[in-house]
Assembly symmetry: C2
Homo-oligomer: 190 residues x 2
């Protein structure tokens, strides 16, 4: 049994993913965590702080995943495949967390938003660096690195919006297909 604070975060993540942040009530969160409405406030100062904690941890985990994938890959092409494939798979496996991270962002307070933006820039940079590496070695052919990186991130992020567990597409098949698509996109007409 995880500790109470963790249970509350898991309950809140479920609720936020299902209804969105503003439409989620603290009563719903408390009830999912097996607490009274007041019980939440012993562990978190407000509903917004709860969103922030979930967002911060989610972003940090996604970033660590990407950095590790980039470092382990033997070539820019392999790194590109691992990055986009892995990020896409992550957004399928953790589609609830992904939705919160990507789509509830605007409901963070100014200060909290700024901190999360920093993590986002780290994430964007990892992919752009891989593309630049590949262009330098000649493996990849990309006209506009920034925009191509953005488009690839869009493909992966959007998985969280449409993914339904138990559907035709599995996280593994998404990883494979999206990794392939990324390489096709960045290798050009050959």
């Amino acid at each position: 049994m995880p500790d109470t604070a963790t249970r509350i975060m898991l309950a809140a993540a479920d609720a936020f993913a299902e209804h969105g942040f503003p439409a989620t009530t603290t009563r719903d969160i408390a009830s999912r965590a097996g607490l009274s409405p007041a019980g939440v406030y012993v562990h978190f100062a407000s509903k917004e702080v709860l969103l922030f904690e979930i967002s911060r941890r989610g972003h940090a985990r996604a970033r660590d995943l990407l950095v590790a994938a980039a470092e382990e890959a033997p070539s820019p092409t392999a790194a590109l495949r691992a990055l986009v494939g892995g990020f896409s798979r992550w957004h399928a496996e953790h589609f609830q967390l992904g939705r919160i991270v990507q789509f509830e962002f605007r409901h963070l307070s100014g200060e909290h938003r700024a901190e999360v933006i920093g993590l986002r820039k780290d994430i964007d940079r990892v992919l752009a660096d891989v593309l630049r590496d590949g262009v330098r070695t000649g493996e990849l052919d990309v006209e506009d690195v920034q925009t191509t990186a953005l488009a690839l991130m869009s493909m992966a992020i959007d998985v969280a919006r449409w993914y339904v567990p138990g559907g035709r597409r599995t996280p593994e098949s998404i990883e494979r297909t999206y990794g392939d698509l990324a390489v096709r996109l960045a290798r050009g007409a050959g």
Copy 2:
């Protein structure tokens, strides 16, 4: 000066795009439209009906745009470029409407959601048909038509999430770049 119902819809679209549906108050909508809080209900039965009307019209316009682009194109490759480029540009030019259409969907009532889903299937089919056409003629090389269509739609739809007017990227440059990326993605290694 547009009629009052239209003014209310425009005001609501602004507010929904800025705060999301649940966090938007009917008072805010009324105030933006230059009405008292009660004035809205003469024209729309509820806040949810307002969201539905905006969503329905937005989807229908996007669909008409795509169908027209597909019909006018002289070849599957040209159609693919026009479709993805045009859809991406639309999500930049109408990023507010795009956000509502794509990200406030879950707040529609069951009946209204079903009607919008029908429009979405039309939209998805247009792109999948173009890819299939191109595979048949041999112009395009796509392994999984459904998933490739989905990934291309993701690229375009996600523009509404990140686009900021007045930024480095214009709707025109997005149209060009994303149209090119789509062709690269579907033409394969050549």
